[in-house]
Homo-oligomer: 105 residues x 2
């Protein structure tokens, strides 16, 4: 999988997830890998770009809002979200955005 | 400045910049710091979230498209963009997106 996602021509959607991690990361890496595998199997999933330093910035791309909504309410993803809020993140923000234009290779 | 930007209620805009760095990073850090300082002085700038591992993911937030356009064509920023393309990045993608919804603390 390419590090820079080869998205189709706009419009499509981006979910921008920014987070600060806690000191308790037990189970985090396993869950992150599992969610990455699972997301790739979802209808409408276009790809993901992610990096973490002081803050984690993860952008996943989707073909439409309905696909984002389905993924948000996927049972295994719901569990991951709950553990994230409760254990792994001290703060986070999720933004749903419509990509209107893009350029660059 | 907060690591997770305290953006106003949607709608507002996000510029998602994803990049792969080259081995020639001469002058990069100085320019990145300068651009960060300069961006903060621009009308419509709301904040920035950024991290780099294998890939760099930087999301800047803006109140409207006109502010993004002004910043893109700012003379000092134009020079930075040219140096980025020519020297510092082996690949990059810029996406302009309208944030329609957000949640989390």
């Amino acid at each position: 999988m390419s590090l820079i996602v080869n998205t189709p021509p706009p419009p499509y959607y981006a979910v921008i997830f920014t987070s600060l991690q806690s000191d308790n990361l037990e189970g985090y890496v396993e869950m992150a890998n599992k969610m990455f595998e699972l997301a790739q199997q979802q209808a409408g999933f276009l790809g993901i770009e992610s990096a973490r330093e002081e803050v984690g910035v993860t952008v996943s791309y989707w073909s439409d809002l309905a696909s984002i909504k389905r993924w948000k309410s996927h049972s295994e993803h719901l569990l991951a979200q709950q553990l994230g809020k409760k254990c792994w993140y001290t703060a986070y923000k999720t933004r749903i955005a419509r990509v209107e234009r893009d350029y660059g290779d």
